[in-house]
Symmetry: D2
Subunit: 245 residues, 4 copies
């Protein structure tokens, strides 16, 4: 399985102490470490104002499962790239959107909703409840995951009715959130997962790492990704008898 991890890696990520203490080589390298357990990982990062030049067609076309983390540079992602990603998902590629990627162009493009929510950054506790104990993504996870510190994301989360609600998050400050949800878009599988604020340790939590690895295995296309999508004109399979007048 070929996994491509995309993340922001601008000045803040390179220099901000609170991020460096958690992700010394960038969040993309932390995620590479997570996903290398289940596939061959390529990383792509977005630098300040570089408009995703590193995310070439060649990389996209060699991706089975795309992992996307973004936060402050969503607008620098070209519409064309978001469109290409959505179209490759429709042809069969799996995709995992992490944390603040809820506002990323590819996620909003695939959902069709505003993907807005409530939020708060006070390093509070989140408890991630497993709603579906036999879903492939929750295998081995147990009843819940305690996350010592996370950014709060609260309902109303403006997403379409999920195909599957896998996790619901509880927050110390009093909110709830559909923290893990799945969708099919065309032939591709989509997983959104809430944890992962850049200054928190979530991606070092063993259960979170297991969930992400499970998710990549789940999202991997079982069949060949289609070359293209089309609207074919087809002949009738039945003789079309003349109508009675």
């Amino acid at each position: 399985m070929k996994i491509t991890v995309f993340s922001e890696y601008g000045k803040a990520f390179r220099e901000w102490k609170d991020v460096l203490s958690v992700h010394p080589h960038g969040l993309h390298e932390t995620l590479k470490d997570v996903f290398s357990a289940v596939g061959e990982v390529t990383t792509v990062y977005q630098d300040d104002g570089d408009h995703c030049v590193r995310f070439t067609d060649d990389i996209l076309n060699n991706t089975d499962v795309l992992v996307w983390w973004g936060h402050s540079m969503h607008n620098d992602v070209p519409d064309e790239l978001a469109e290409k990603i959505a179209e490759r998902v429709q042809r069969g590629m799996g995709v995992i959107f992490l944390h603040s990627a809820h506002m990323s162009k590819p996620f909003r493009r695939l959902m069709g909703t505003s993907c807005t929510l409530k939020w708060r950054e006070v390093n509070e506790r989140e408890r991630l409840w497993v709603i579906d104990p036999v879903h492939p993504i929750t295998r081995g996870v147990g009843e819940y995951v305690d996350i010592a510190h996370e950014e709060m994301y609260g309902e109303v989360f403006d997403i379409p009715t999920p195909d599957e609600t896998v996790f619901i998050g509880w927050y110390q400050g009093g909110e709830v959130f559909r923290s893990g949800v799945t969708y099919r878009r065309g032939r591709g599988k989509v997983f959104y997962f809430q944890p992962g604020h850049e200054t928190n340790e979530s991606y070092h939590n063993e259960k979170i790492r297991l969930i992400l690895q499970n998710a990549a295995k789940w999202a991997a296309p079982a069949e060949k990704i289609l070359e293209k999508l089309d609207c074919p004109c087809v002949p009738a399979l039945e003789k079309i008898a003349e109508e009675k007048e």
Copy 2:
């Protein structure tokens, strides 16, 4: 209820005999006649290469339910307009997509899928089966609707899992199609309805007219359309106690 009917009305629609015999004043006027039974209707048409200049912000901002028919000029609809429509749906506007509008920019923007399908134009019979006999959209319709001549649209229809499957179509030539499906996108209701090829008489069929009128009533926002969507930062509702070390 303020209903805006959008349709193409280019040279072909003005001059092509097969269309004029069914829609002498344009398809938008036929639809205006249908929807005037349930609301105040404004029509907007798209002329050859005019990029929807008639579809002003003012019209959109005064629309409770938008009805969209398009076929050969999808690409002339500006991305910005599709985006504005999607965003107004998310804030509460209802929208009805008709027939070949499955490939329109606003529909694809709201679905997140390719919306591709199979098709065939041989004026065959379609029988529209009511799958949900107590849905507001099927009130008074009976078990099925016989449509003497329609364009065939066949599965696989690449749409997200519908919130509700209201109609499934049977075609004389041997195909089936999820001909009437609903979605919620944000606060807005979406209905896709298959019948309506420009040279067929479907919008003159009394049962089809009833379905469309029912759909407009169903899609009308029950509450005020929001001014804007946002991602507010909110204070904690519970005291966040210090963690145990």
Copy 3:
């Protein structure tokens, strides 16, 4: 709208101080007071070991929306009554299951799952988050409802994937719960709603009362309840041409 409220009313309900202080005339009378705002209410109660003798066919056959509260006497409800209720729901009757009715025979009969969950009685705070702000059941409710004291019901709640998730509950002790969910079963609408432990004040909370009244209006059949359900043998609508040999 004819509403029938069913509740237990055994020795405990008549004599237990903690219940009497909240429901001096029985929980069924408290609920009658809630629902009288939106319909004509009949109450039926179940006494210790009386096997629901008061719940006559005549009452059931005159019910548009049934409200069911039960806890410790589920097993005393005859299977035949549960079956009759399920069948009437399939024919169009609305039904609202409250709190510990998640383990009642009619609810389990309609869900097809075990309806098991986690629980705890320590009078903790529940905050009921509105997940769908434009659902008829949440009209006028605002972002959330604070409930000072409730029994905790926690996930995994073994229910089918809800048609609509209307509320998710947050508990002080650390759990979450899909506290308000809807289903269609045949032509009938089903709403399950978590609050309502017999010693808590939830049904005196103005927002909870509004939710229950909204729910009754939502669940009321829009069309006549069917006399019976059947599997008719039907003639072909199309001429069935002989096969090519």
Copy 4:
């Protein structure tokens, strides 16, 4: 994988020429032949009026995936057996309901609806359209399956909104049907599949056999079937601070 095939095998099945020509050793033996390709198959048959004496607890407790075909003896299946089956599905067993098993006690018990439909026996053609081309159940099946002769089952099929609609059937006589649908009930997977009238050749069709084999693999429990289901009382995970007065 341990598969148990259940079918009727009364006087009619043993003596009726039209059945014997298709299923010379009984429908259960035909199905055993299908499923032996993917698991170890036990067959259980129901004889006229024998109330399923052969379906022992021991057999049920050694079943990973149950395949159920029934038609004219549904009422002879004890309620207790239907209840045990439903409960084992909730604990993780997979189950495949075939054709007229839509009216069987275990299926109706799991659905919560009446499962009624329209029908007609004139040996017409059914074309089974694949709605989900990347579902594990449709692997290798192609766009559709032509079935030369089948009993017609037509909408409205009174089932809950399917988790997944995998097949929709087209009938020569003019109807459509959701011919392949999936559900989760507790931890168990459920697949209903329309083809299989006792005098038709469907279970000898290679594509149908492939679908059934795929379905058994899909339905097999990925984790151990639970010993029991319960509603545990659990301690609070968070300190429950006293309320402010």
